[in-house]
Structure formats: C-alpha cells, structure tokens
Symmetry: C2
Subunit: 347 residues, 2 copies
C-alpha cells in the first residue's frame, strides 16, 4: 500500500523556479479564454473584449513564511492579502475579490482566528476588495493560509514581464531592503528571548519592522502612473529581491540590464540596521525579499517625466541581451548580478 | 512577543459552517462586479452582461483529508482537481481554469511530485481545463494542496442553492454512499496492515475504492440537463453527505423537504460493504461524504422528463418550510434529518 519511490531527487536541487518549470511544463492552455497561464505575476483570463480578469495565488506556511512568536495574527492576515494584491498591481490591474483558505491546528482558538480575520478585513477595507470565498480545515501542525486574488484590467493596459526593450529606463517604487532588515532584527531578538529571556526594545526599528510584518501593496503607484499617463513596458513586484526580479524581466523580455548601484533607494533605518549585522545594505536590496515594491520599465522618452515623480527612483536601464545582467559600482566597475530568488526549499 | 489569548474558545464547539459564519460575517461585498460572495458552491463575479465567472477553492490536507498510506499520489492530484470542478458544475457552469498550490515536506521527491501532477494533468485533459498558476512551498510536515477553479456561465443559467420552491422535485445523480464505504474499507485494511502486516485484497471493492480515491465531477449530468432543456431551480454537489446538502438547499431556499428513503440510489457494492461494517447503507448516504454527485431540484412540471433520465433518481420533493426536513421510511414513518455536515474540527 505504501508508495515506493524508486528514484529520489531531492527538491532542493532544483529551487522553486526549476521545480515549477518541471511540474507545469506539460500543461498547455487550451481554452480560448486563457490569455496567459503560468509565468507572470498573474494569470490572465478573458472576461470580455474590453475586460480581462487577473488571478494570482500565494501560500503562507507557519515556520516557513512566518513565525508566530513575533508575528501578530492581525498583521499576518493583513499581509496575506496585500502580498496577493501586489501581484495584481504588478500587472497594472485593479484587485476586486479575494478567496482565503486556512488550515489550522488544534492550538488555535476562535479568538485567534478572529484576530487573523480582522487583519484580512482591514486589508479588504483599505484596498476595496471583497472576500468572496475560501475553505477552512484543520491541520496536524501549524497554520497555513492560501489566498487567491482576482482583479481586472483593460486588455491594452495590462503590463507583462516580457515587454522591456533595450534603452528602456528601469524604475522602482519606494525603497528596498527594509523588509529583509526587519526580518533580521526579529530573528535576532527572538533568539535572545528564547535563550536569555531578554525582552526586546524594538522602537528604533519601527519602520523596517512594519515593512516586514505589515507590508502594503503599491496601489498608489499604479494610480500615479495612470494619472501621469505613463504605461510601463514591463512590470513585476519585488517579492524575492531585486536581482531575482530583474532576472525575470530580462529573461522574459530577452534583454540584459544595467543597474546603477548608487541609485538604489535605501532608507536610513535599513542602512544602519544592516550595518549592525555587518551585511552590505545592497545585499539586502538585491537578495533580500518581501519588499512588495513595483519594479518597472518605461520608454526612454518618459525619462524626464518619471525622474520627477515622488517615490519613484530610476535605477538603471535595459540593454541588449548579449550585454548580460549587470550592476555598475560608483567607481565604474561592472558586477554581474546573480540570483536564485528566495529558495524556500533550501535551509 | 508571544500572543496571549485571554479568552479561548475551542473551534470544535462551532463546527466548520459555524466557524465560517463567524469569520466571514463582517465582510460585505462592495464591488459591483461581485454578484455572490460566500455561501454557495462558488462565488459569482460579473465578467460582462452576458457572462459571469464562477470561482471556488478547496484545501486538501494530509492526515485530515487523505492518508498517503493508501492514496496514490496520481489519484490524489486527480481528486484535488475534480472536487473543485464539481463545485463549478453545481452552479451549472463550465470550468475553464485552475490554480494549484502545494506545500510539501522534505520527504517528497521530485518524482513523487511528478506523480501528483500527472494526476492533475489527467483531470485537466479530461475536463478540458487549463492550469494557469499556483504557488509552491515547503511545509514542516506533510502535504497540503490548495486548488482554485474558475469557470463561466451565462447569468440566467446559473443555479444557486436558494431557488428551490415547494412542490419542486428533488433529484440526485448517480448513487450515494459509495465513497464513504470505500473509505471504511481503506481504513480497516490500513489498520490490519499496520498492526499485523496483512496485505489487503481489495479487488472486490474496486468500485467503491475508485469512488473514494478518484472521484469524477458530473460534467455529463450538466450536459444531459442542458440537452433535455431542464433548468434546475437549485443545485449543490454532495460533498458532505446528503443530509447536510439538503439542509443547505432548504435553509437557503427557506423551504422544507421530504426524502423517500427507499428511493435513495445505493449501489450493491456499497450495500454489502456497509453490511460488513454493520452500518445501515442509508447512514453512509445521509451522513457520509465525498460522493460528488449533483443534488438538484426541478419544477414538478419536469417530473415526467427527469424520471426517465439515465443516472438520475427522484428522491423526494420540496415542502413548505414549516413542514421541516424529513425522510419517510417504507412503512410511512417520518424521520427528521439532522446533519452537521462533515466536521473537520471534531475528532
């Protein structure tokens, strides 16, 4: 009765992107309503000639994506929603509905779940999305949250990862590395608490902790670009670190890119926190994750316009593919970017 | 740092339906595109004036919904898809896309996941749906599969749980109780294998085991009803046992019902297997689960038509609410039906 796997390749050998490719490659869309399947921030489904639906789903697993020792359930509920909405915005769409499934172990009380759902409620209120369904189950251990978000967009407004062209300007919203810095602090303080019962004083890390625990989706950036009449040529949200996201855009657009390291937007609190850990802040930006900022490209003709926009930073430009994916240091050295993204399968 | 829940109500006190009600009650749909939120087999979203999208999601958790000791991964992948498609058919819609998220522990190899996905692939081929997205993650223990299915239907063709009217005829497709009987056999043989290393001989249970391990969604019934020009007044799929589903239809339609027990369609293999366990086959039908047949009501004017249809059985009729939810025995006794549905939160 027991499954016997004669061959046994550990999943960590592939990483998440390799695994997804192996598992989903045999599937070829057959329905005419399926416009875009696996491979972008959202799938795209035809609703009518004038409107497409965008669909995305994310899984948050206790012990892997969050630690309940330092994650308030209300923030967790909020984050479970916003990380999905971020994917809808990354397609230049408007999120409208979510479905939320949870698996919970016996240790959770109804009051704890109400906390979780109050965070979900606040995210729904803020971003004007409706909770329309889901599923609930027990689990043998821990909490698992699966959220599916649905949005809509006019077909000609949808922005894919694949539209970047050489000479396009690369922009990013807000600042990067903050969520990663926040995570380092939380993990350090957790260790101190567990080992030495030292209650942490976290006041001075308020900004980066909020970026880690209660991230927002950049609805405001999508609205700003629309108001300024700027249509990005490609876009992705920064969930796995900047390097990984640049790889996605360049590989799907069949281009290279050049990133000007000294242009990377880094908050002061992120910088000095990473100093505490003796890690270069650029590392947090390039290889950290969970910033949920928008990374996008615009035609060079929009350069004058974007460089004046509040909370948007020009960080480089798209090149021919043969030039590779590189960063330039302040003393003009070229450093190739390498990124595996965030590999949940490696410990 | 640790969450301190001052009040603590165990979830098992409420059951799944009570829990869902408490958690989702504060959420009121605000988007004009949201036609129907929580509370039916699918949520309904407006795509255009002529087409609505149907969305449903289900969570399968190892140790709760399936046991890998006797569940082949290929069948599990197939079932994870069909149970969701069943919800789309239960709205009289056509499924078109699915998203599949998995959380897997370190014990899974790539080959094991390929098995799982080959089952998903076969279900996609058979039902002509596209895999358009998902998420993958590690889990600290066991396997978790979350599937979201999307379908479409013309607005006037959608069948809700709420449309049944007194005098409507209650029909069910196929036969009931088989999946529950199959589960009893698998659990018994697992115990024997674990305790006494007795390899089971399962040949004579082939039909009920397939109903449990590899259920189909009743696409054919939806096609048949369309061909016969029968529009059900209400419909639901039988996932939690007939009693529970009748409760849903009657409570949402504000009616009662009367079920003729001797009319319940029960396969011979289901009957004699339940005999082995000294459980009345009606119990498997009324309170077992996972049959994934379609339970629906039609106007009494369609009675002559439906009673001739292959694989559809007339099992009773809708009454005024005040008459309650009852079954009639062959010797004309009235027995009230009671059902909690399948309570995943009680052990």
């Amino acid at each position: 009765m027991i499954e016997d796997n004669k061959t046994a390749t550990p999943i960590s050998e592939l990483g998440e992107f390799g695994l997804i490719k192996i598992l989903t490659d045999p599937f070829k869309p057959k329905n005419p309503a399926t416009i875009k399947g696996v491979g972008d921030d959202c799938a795209v489904i035809k609703a009518s000639d004038k409107s497409y639906k965008l669909v995305t789903t994310d899984l948050l697993v206790e012990g892997i994506h969050f630690n309940l020792m330092y994650t308030p359930l209300k923030h967790l509920g909020y984050k479970a929603v916003t990380v999905n909405l971020s994917d809808i915005y990354a397609m230049n769409g408007t999120p409208e509905q979510i479905l939320v499934s949870i698996a919970i172990s016996g240790k959770f009380t109804i009051e704890a779940l109400e906390e979780l759902y109050s965070g979900i409620y606040h995210a729904c209120e803020k971003y004007k999305v409706d909770l329309i369904g889901g599923d609930t189950s027990t689990s043998l251990t821990g909490l698992m949250i699966s959220v599916t978000a649905i949005g809509s967009a006019a077909p000609e407004k949808i922005v894919y990862r694949s539209g970047a062209k050489p000479t396009d300007i690369i922009c990013v919203s807000g600042n990067l590395g903050a969520a990663y810095a926040g995570l380092q602090v939380l993990e350090r303080e957790k260790e101190l608490f567990v080992k030495e019962k030292i209650q942490p004083d976290l006041d001075k890390y308020d900004y980066i902790l909020e970026r880690q625990l209660k991230p927002e989706a950049r609805k405001d950036i999508i609205e700003l670009l629309k108001k300024e009449n700027i249509q990005p040529t490609s876009m992705i949200d920064v969930s796995d670190g900047l390097s990984s996201e640049l790889m996605h855009i360049c590989s799907q657009s069949e281009t290279g890119c050049r990133i000007i390291l000294e242009n990377l937007p880094i908050e002061h609190q992120t910088s000095w926190t990473m100093d505490e850990f003796s890690i270069a802040a650029e590392t947090a930006v390039l290889n950290g994750g969970e910033d949920y900022e928008l990374l996008f490209t615009v035609p060079v003709s929009d350069f004058e316009k974007v460089k004046e926009l509040k909370d948007i930073t020009v960080i480089g430009y798209i090149t021919e593919r043969a030039e590779g994916i590189n960063s330039i240091t302040s003393d003009n050295r070229l450093i190739p970017l390498s990124a595996q993204g965030w590999n949940a399968f490696k410990k």
